[in-house]
């Protein structure tokens, strides 16, 4: 389903938690070199699990990839530790930001460079580079990260990931709990990183609207399966996606009175 030149390929991955709970039932997807790919779906569809299966953070949560494979630049990476993966250029920005609260903003960013071996000079340059993209962080560089705002924390989390010099960044729900304006700002920054530096992005989002505006390609996940995929522009036009993910019915806005009377049945359920 993907051209051979893709940066990341996930082939038919199945994930089981606690040896019994089947969460992913064979997910396949691909991220091209320098592309932005959206992974859409409702709560519990398996977006986060897919990202963690790629970054190998699953094992610490008693989750296990039982079938399938993950390839990065043509090499199998599903048995590597998270830190090996970061070293190869795949880094995850976790849902809920997870900044190091008691460290300062700058210290947070520097922890992102832990796996690097190229010395202080390169790290200092990249720090300035992150500040260039997130000027707000530079102003607050000596503040304790726990006391910064939600938007700033999301910026810290992304900036921290950038400090490892990734080729591919796995962004989990960056819009969570943020004001629409901030969401827009963070997506804009992500896009400029993508355009200027060729950073590939795999983006898990509930907010299909904004995700499909910024992504080039999209996958829709429902209960652990990919039910639909295609170029973002095509997905935006798809009647099912419009109805169930973008909140646009056939005849414009709907009244809440008849919101329950779905006229459509999802075509992929047929």
């Amino acid at each position: 389903m993907s051209e051979p030149g893709s940066l990341l390929r996930v082939n038919n991955v199945e994930v089981i938690y606690d040896h019994v709970i089947l969460v992913l039932k064979g997910v396949s997807l691909a991220v091209p070199e320098g592309g932005i790919v959206a992974l859409l779906g409702a709560n519990g569809a398996g977006k986060t699990t897919t990202l963690k299966a790629i970054s190998n953070l699953l094992r610490a949560e008693r989750g296990e990839v039982t079938k399938g494979s993950v390839e990065f630049r043509g090499e199998r990476v599903d048995r590597l530790s998270p830190s090996d993966l970061v070293r190869r250029g795949v880094v995850q920005v976790m849902e809920g930001r997870h900044v190091f609260q008691h460290l300062t903003v700058e210290e947070n960013l520097l922890t992102g460079a832990f796996t690097r071996r190229d010395g202080r000079g390169g790290i200092a340059r990249d720090l300035e580079h992150v500040y260039l993209h997130f000027p707000r962080l530079k102003e607050r560089r000596y503040a304790q990260a726990g006391y910064t705002s939600g938007g700033e924390q999301q910026m810290i989390a992304i900036g921290r990931a950038l400090m490892s010099r990734p080729k591919l960044i796995l962004l989990d729900e960056p819009s969570m709990g943020l004001a629409p304006q901030l969401v827009e700002e963070i997506f804009e920054i992500t896009r400029s990183l993508n355009r200027e530096e060729g950073l590939a992005v795999l983006l898990a989002e509930q907010n299909a609207n904004i995700a499909l505006r910024f992504a080039g390609y999209g996958y829709i996940l429902e209960s652990g399966r990919v039910v639909l995929d295609g170029p973002a522009a095509a997905l935006r036009q798809n009647a099912d996606v419009k109805e169930f993910y973008l909140g646009l019915g056939g005849e414009g806005r709907k009244s809440y009175r008849d919101v329950k009377h779905y006229k459509r049945r999802k075509r992929w359920l047929a």
Binding site: S55, L57, A60, E61, R62, S81, P82, S83, L85, V86, R87, V91, Q92, V93, M94, H98, V99, F100, Q101, H102, L103, E107, N108, L110, T111, G112, F114, T115, Q144, G146, Y147, G150, A157, R160, A161, M163, S164
Partner: protein, 311 residues
């Protein structure tokens, strides 16, 4: 009335009458407190980096001291023994990570705590098998007689212990604040998962922490052992570190130091000046009462990390 006077005013009158004696007691207390600080430091290190309250810290002090004495008694020179014990403590750190911590990743704190209980019993047993259960005197060549400065007596051993502890503390503070690995250790202490997500390898970090805690235990063990003799009650002395931790805060290195000093000084003063009035043995319980009061009014301790809550 008479009793109130004896408790509330009498001791201070005595202090005022003999200031030189007061200073002597105070210095003795502070220097003893440094020893508590050293043990408390080991607890703080592991608690900060892995969120585990390491019950075995006291036993590690004992085990390190026993191994050191054992090597000396086997005829090894001091320096060689020291290097050998350091190696043993590092091997211990690897073993703890591999056998205990790794299989218990993501378990709740109480389970990790209980696993350290297990480590503690294991180390006591191992120490006993290897080196026997006798009291071993430990002579590290520090003259034991008191030093007289301006008519005030100072125990030389305590003085050296204070110097060792001070050096360790400064070195550790620099390590935590200024180095890449130190920063990673603090990051892990804050959020395991996030630390993993940015590529910090937890296993290595745990080995590093336990190794450092082992070295601190060794320093504490040698200093304690030199003054009390190396014996199994050393592990219990380490329990004095608990009130120190409550006072200073479980997550603060300066807190462990200041807490130790306060506990050391306060219990000595209590023993000497209030002991005659309310019965001796003040030294044994005073620290715990102090800790209880702190738990009521400032549960995070003097320097503990504030719990950050955004609303």
């Amino acid at each position: 009335m008479h009793i109130l006077y004896a408790i509330l005013i009498g001791p201070f009158v005595t202090m005022a009458r003999e200031p030189a004696f007061l200073i002597e007691v105070l210095i003795g207390g502070l220097l003893a407190g440094v020893m508590y600080s050293l043990v408390a430091l080991g607890f703080v290190l592991i608690y900060k980096a892995s969120g585990v309250f390491n019950y075995a810290q006291g036993t590690m002090v004992l085990f390190a001291a026993l191994t050191f004495v054992g090597m000396l008694e086997a005829g090894l020179p001091v320096l060689l023994s020291l290097i050998a014990v350091i190696a043993v403590m590092i091997v211990l750190a690897f073993a703890v990570e591999r056998v205990v911590l790794r299989p218990l990743v993501n378990q709740s704190e109480i389970i990790l705590f209980m696993s350290t209980l297990g480590i503690s019993y294991f180390l006591v047993g191992l120490g006993q098998i290897l080196w026997g259960g006798d009291v071993h005197p430990l002579d590290i060549g520090i003259p034991s007689g008191p030093l007289t400065v301006h008519g005030i007596l100072i125990n030389q051993l305590d003085l050296y212990a204070a110097i060792v502890a001070g050096t360790l503390v400064v070195a550790l503070a620099l390590f935590f604040q200024k180095t890449r690995v130190g920063r990673a250790l603090r990051a892990v202490a804050d959020d395991h998962q996030a630390a993993m997500s940015v590529g910090i390898p937890l296993k290595q970090i745990w080995v590093v922490t336990w190794a450092i805690a082992g070295l601190v235990a060794l320093a504490a063990g040698i200093m304690w052992g030199a003054s009390l003799g190396v014996q199994f009650s050393l592990a219990l002395v380490a329990l004095k570190a608990l009130p120190v931790l409550i006072l200073g805060g479980f997550t603060s290195i300066p807190g462990a130091i200041v807490g130790g000093l306060i506990v050391g000084a306060a219990e000595k003063l209590g023993e000497v000046f209030w002991g005659p009035v309310i019965g001796s043995g003040v030294e044994d319980w005073f620290a715990y009462i102090l800790a209880l009061i702190f738990l009521l009014f400032r549960p995070q301790g003097l320097f503990g990390e504030r719990i950050i809550e955004r609303v």
